[in-house]
């Protein structure tokens, strides 16, 4: 039993790493249920543990991956062992090959083991780039090889490592097989193909309905948070012989915020802006009035709620001359701040939809500060995945000036909209 417990504790820990909220109770439940099941039936064990550990459809997908990785069947284990042996042989062979190829002045290059593995995994094109560089610097390497090629090789290798990591971090890769809708929800919007767009639109419509329902529930379900309404309480008390069994409360009038949207529609941002507008448009109760501005190098006012058909949005952008241009956020914000009548004000939430890539970053930062001063709240929806933010200077600059929310996937976009509702 202690062996099972130990294994289950390890499995629980693995699930925690996968993002599941697994506590002691779940592990205890798993232990209890396994004691009354046929442990030789893998699928039964899988279903039982899934019911105990995974508490949503998303968690189920993560659970399946973890289960397959942790509880390996005997056949699979043998196959994996054979595969690992073959891979180890292949790695050793390629390592020798790499040592032959990477030579400086006839001597093998002193590379760390992990960087050597990176070289082995490199495509032919990148390897050739590296060899060309080594050829070019052959003459000077003898004098100070470390300083000369060290930085370059490290940068090439680190970039490759980063790319690999990003691919692995793409949650959609694993979700794809289990559920296409779920995969779409977690896939980077910039990776959407044309064929995905109708499915994505249907998904957005479904999520928007959810958001709308949540909003209306929030509005109606406030309960009696207001003060006691004496008149109504007395009037209702008459129905029960003057006894005040049912108290009536004054409902607080909820003031909705005004929303001003500033949408980047330059080439790469069009798809994202279209999806984001679909979300925001569907949330009819978010704001009592809104204004929207589209920008690339110039800025144009547009009424997003009038664009009922989102295909018309795309056509409008293309015909307006904004599409395919560069991005000048500074000019757009400046136009917004100086516009009369002023669209910004203390009760306004300024929502910026942009990837922060702009010409004249210092000016953009200055005007963002001014916009922040004029508007009550500034929220930035950024389609670039959060894991890439540390490498993009403009994002770091803008994120330090206002609240920035990552919106690289439809799921994140929905979360951002929930944030808007609060």
């Amino acid at each position: 039993m202690s062996v099972y417990l130990e294994k289950l504790a390890e499995f629980s820990s693995l699930l925690r790493q996968e993002g599941l909220a697994v506590g002691l109770q779940e592990t205890a439940d798993a232990c209890e249920i396994l004691s009354c099941l046929d442990l030789t039936d893998r699928e039964t064990v899988r279903s039982a543990l899934s019911a105990v550990y995974a508490k949503s459809r998303e968690e189920q997908a993560a659970f399946q991956r973890a289960f397959d990785g942790f509880f390996v069947s005997a056949e699979r284990r043998d196959a994996l062992r054979r595969q690992h042996e073959a891979e180890a042989r292949e790695l050793a062979r390629r390592r020798e090959e790499a040592q032959r190829e990477l030579q400086v002045n006839g001597q093998p290059m002193e590379l760390r083991e992990d960087l050597e593995e990176v070289y082995i995994r490199m495509g032919q094109e990148k390897r050739e780039q590296l060899h060309q560089m080594l050829e070019r610097t052959r003459g000077t390497m003898g004098r100070s090889p470390d300083k000369l090629y060290g930085n370059f090789i490290r940068s090439v290798f680190m970039r490759f490592l980063l790319e690999q990591q990003m691919v692995m971090e793409d949650a959609a890769v694993d979700c794809e097989e289990t559920d296409p809708d779920l995969a779409l929800l977690y896939r980077d919007i910039s990776l959407f193909k044309d064929a995905d767009v109708p499915r994505a639109a249907a998904l957005i419509a479904a999520i928007s309905r959810q958001l709308d329902a949540e909003l209306s529930r929030q509005r109606q379900g406030r309960g009696h948070s207001g003060t006691l309404d004496f008149k109504r309480t007395i009037r209702r008390g008459l129905e029960t012989g003057g006894a005040f069994y049912r108290l009536s409360y004054r409902r607080k009038r909820r003031r909705r915020r005004r929303l001003v949207l500033l949408c980047d529609v330059s080439g790469s941002m069009l798809q994202f802006s279209e999806f984001a507008l679909r979300f925001i448009k569907s949330m009819s109760e978010v704001a009592e009035s809104s204004a929207a501005f589209l920008f690339s190098e110039q800025v144009r006012p547009v009424d997003p709620f009038a664009l009922q058909n989102m295909d018309a949005f795309r056509d409008y952008v293309r015909s307006s001359g904004l599409y395919g241009r560069g991005t000048d956020l500074g000019a757009a914000l400046e136009a917004l701040c100086t516009r009369r009548p002023a669209p910004l004000g203390p009760s306004v939430t300024l929502l910026i939809l942009s990837d922060t890539k702009t010409i004249d970053l210092p000016r953009a930062a200055r005007t963002l500060l001014e916009a922040r001063r004029q508007a009550g709240k500034v929220l930035w929806l950024n389609p670039i995945p959060a894991r890439k933010w540390p490498y993009v200077r403009s994002i770091q600059t803008m994120a330090s000036l206002c609240q920035m929310v990552p919106c690289s996937t439809l799921d994140e976009l929905a979360r951002a909209c929930r944030k808007l509702m609060k």
Binding site: L37, S47, K55
Partner: protein, 316 residues
């Protein structure tokens, strides 16, 4: 109860399900945990509770959730009229404290489904249907009941369960449920059945229906569900309605014509009905709904509704 017994009981109740569902039900039963079932509308979530009530030979107590549902509708309410009458009758009683005390006895308590389920002498199956339609406050209120199997009534105190009900919560995922609620439940996600399973369901629920028609309808419904153009996907109950309607009209085959005449049993909006045209006439994922396992690519040598392999020798 073990897997085999539960499976036998579900079979007895004519409930078609796979081993994974039986395992999940057993897990919830063994651990005494509520079972949270999520899935699209019409996949048979509510049916699980009904079938479990039949399988366990327990009474089914149902609480239908909706916006604004509160404790007075879900847990208990005092019978105010009876209390007022009682006050008037006993107005001259000497001991006012005793009178007040007596007003909050069982006699004046109106039990609602939640209280009814935990105060029942014999354990029941408690179905809390469409929990996602209720407010978050109500969800929070349920936590005490689901984890401790007790409820607090201010005038009475803590009411502990006499018998532990088997609780089934269903959700259509119109809003995310709280983590706290999820953590207290065993979880099951139900998907629409595949064609084979749906045919088995039709066979189990409507044993007299023509097998060939059942396969055709199951394939057609599968095509409708797979189509992005159909917004409200047909439920299993609607599949059964469709088969019954076709059978009642004496239609032995699902031809485009018969489908057009009876489509109202499976699709409930004019937009969906319009969009269903191409799907049912072969433009859908499955191609024609003739019911045969052969590939359909519109070049398979027969008109839809005139499949030589589907139709019996009478040439219909």
């Amino acid at each position: 109860m073990d897997m085999a017994t539960l499976r036998a009981k579900l079979d007895e109740a004519r409930y078609i399900c796979d081993d994974s569902l039986v395992t999940t039900l057993l897990v919830a039963l063994k651990l005494g945990r509520p079972l949270l079932i999520e899935g699209a509308a019409g996949v048979g979530k509510t049916e699980v509770a009904k079938v479990m009530a039949a399988a366990l030979d327990r009474e089914l107590v149902r609480l239908q959730c909706y916006e604004g549902l509160d404790e007075s509708k879900a847990l208990y309410e005092w019978n105010y009229q009876k209390q007022l009458l009682s006050i008037q009758v006993q107005m001259n009683r000497q001991d006012p404290d005793a009178l007040t005390q007596s007003l909050f006895g069982d006699e004046y308590l109106l039990e609602r489904p939640l209280l009814q389920s935990i105060r029942a002498e014999r354990p029941v199956v408690l179905l809390i249907d469409e929990i996602d339609k209720s407010d978050e406050e109500f969800e929070a209120f349920l936590l005490e009941l689901l984890s401790e199997m007790q409820v607090s009534i201010p005038e009475v105190g803590v009411v502990r369960a006499r018998s532990i009900p088997f609780v089934v919560l269903t959700s259509n995922r119109t809003r995310p449920l709280s983590e706290a609620l999820r953590r207290r439940c065993a979880y099951l996600y139900l998907q629409y059945p595949d064609v084979e399973k749906e045919v088995s369901i039709i066979r189990a629920k409507l044993p007299n229906v023509n097998e060939h028609l059942a396969v055709q309808v199951a394939r057609a419904v599968h095509g409708l569900r797979a189509s992005d153009a159909i917004l409200k996907k047909p439920s299993i109950a609607e599949t059964l309605d469709w088969v019954s309607a076709l059978e009642a009209l004496g239609m032995r085959d699902l031809t485009p014509e018969s489908a057009r005449q009876t489509i109202g049993f499976v699709l409930k909006s004019s937009e969906d009905m319009e969009a269903a045209g191409p799907v049912l006439s072969g433009g859908g994922e499955d191609g024609c709904s003739c019911g045969h396992g052969h590939d359909h690519d519109h070049e398979h040598g027969h008109e839809h509704g005139h499949c030589g392999r589907c139709h019996s020798g009478d040439g219909t």
